[in-house]
Assembly symmetry: C2
């Protein structure tokens, strides 16, 4: 990364609508590691201050996505506590700390998926909404075990279609439905499975808008509703209102009197969730505190 590119890179991350919370958090950590190696500094104290400042900027880009704040906060605290040393040593340490957090996040996600897959088992028909890295990790583990998928498109940007393409690439048969058909297809699925952008202290799950509808339908149809995510998704509560993006993403021409609304997330109450799977295992109640 060209040091002068950091503001541009920050803006790219801020406007990224492709990656989920886990992946975007790791992209921020990669930006942090690049910064550690390349940011302009003449001595380690100045670099430490600059990196702590950048960690704060990165942590705040998507306030609903808990792992971004949690992982960048972890890096920020580690930098704050790192011993004084020369510039080259500090650069290497700061970069290594960010990369260790990337690995920790990846491992947590894989472990959470492994725990979920033990309960899901082979041959099941899994209904999911939006595109979650942990849900994809579950499907990758189950791809030779006869599972099938029903994926909702997840308007407005249709991440569900990208999930369906990945599943098709793994030869997992997948039905692609509109979000409006989630209730109908809950009757044809064995279980519902989603990831999370944020899990609140009581286990309520903030995830792509529509997740709450899926949870209601799963409850009404009598199928389990599972959440699979890393502990880095834990947060005490909401720090900010649920993110609302540009109404123009809905793709309609502007017209006086019509206000397009585009809130990205909704909150699924804990009472609608059958089990949470994290790197610590599966549980029918939420036990993790924010990291």
């Amino acid at each position: 990364m060209d040091p002068a590119d950091y503001p541009h890179f920050l803006e790219q991350l801020r406007h990224d609508r492709e990656q989920g919370a886990s992946a975007l958090a790791r992209a921020c950590l990669r930006a942090a590691a690049f910064s550690a190696r390349d940011a302009p500094a003449s001595e380690s104290g100045g670099l430490r201050r600059l990196l702590i400042k950048r960690a704060g900027e990165l942590a705040g880009i998507r306030p609903t996505m808990a792992p971004i704040g949690n992982l960048l906060g972890r890096w920020q605290r580690a930098l704050d506590e790192a011993p004084a040393e020369n510039l080259a040593q500090f650069r290497a340490r700061a970069a290594a700390l960010a990369e260790a957090l990337i690995s920790e996040s990846e491992q947590a996600l894989e472990q959470a998926a492994a725990h979920a897959c033990r309960v899901i088992g082979p041959g099941r028909r899994i209904l999911t909404h939006s595109l979650s890295a942990s849900v994809l990790a579950c499907f990758r583990r189950l791809r030779a075990r006869g599972v099938t998928a029903i994926a909702s498109e997840s308007r407005p940007l249709n991440e569900g279609r990208r999930l369906a393409e990945q599943l098709a690439g793994w030869s997992i048969p997948v039905s692609l439905i509109t979000d409006a058909q989630l209730g109908l297809f809950a009757a044809e699925a064995d279980l519902a499975l989603i990831g999370a952008d944020r899990v609140l202290a009581d286990g309520s799950v903030v995830n792509k808008a529509g997740s709450y509808l899926l949870a209601l339908a799963a409850r009404d149809r009598g199928i389990p509703f599972y959440v699979c995510c890393e502990g880095f998704k834990a947060a005490p509560g909401l720090d900010a209102p649920l993110e609302e993006m540009a109404g123009s993403e809905l793709g309609y021409p502007q017209r006086p009197g019509i206000l397009p609304r585009n809130t990205y997330f909704d909150i699924t109450p804990a009472r609608l969730i059958s089990a949470w799977f994290t790197e610590r295992g599966g549980s029918d109640h939420w036990v993790l505190s924010p990291t």
Copy 2:
């Protein structure tokens, strides 16, 4: 109508994705009235047989939409029972019978809307899904009474956007949302209101896919869920599977391994419905038998 055009007109009605059940039923009755006046016949007995056959064809074009079958069935029976008379008299009688049913359907819809509006009252924020003629009739009656609307787009063909345009034309402020946000916005509405394509004997409502999700969200958020429709929507049960249309309507390129599914309707169980409004009034239980 050019008599030779009837097959073409029938196909147009069969593939109409613009009009709801009420409007399409009336369009079928208009086709019936045109047929009565213009269909080739040399004597009234032959015309009667031809019109009864055409009534059966029209009745079957959209098996989920009850008023089409009910109204064309009514016309068919009236033709069957009509007295023998000369060709010109029979043409006039058959056309008048169809036109009377159009008026009866329009009046029933307006009366149902009037009953619903008495309960809804002024100033309320109304959440609706898809595009229903009876819901539009309610908004038209309430347009000077300070109501506001939240309309879901209703994928795949986005009839909700057309509803929003009509409401904006009446200066009713309207928020246009993705179907996935129905759960989120149920928390901001005073009530949910939909029409119906078909009401089963127990009061369960067949309507555009997503209606069931809205009903679940309304129940969970503690707001009433109202259905407003004419008695011509009543049917003993489903005569056929819920209609599934071309997956290509979802707008995605074909890809091996991905099956787009496009079921137009879902069923909202009677237990989720707070009240039904028809031309006979409002009730917290469904009382109408098929007509």
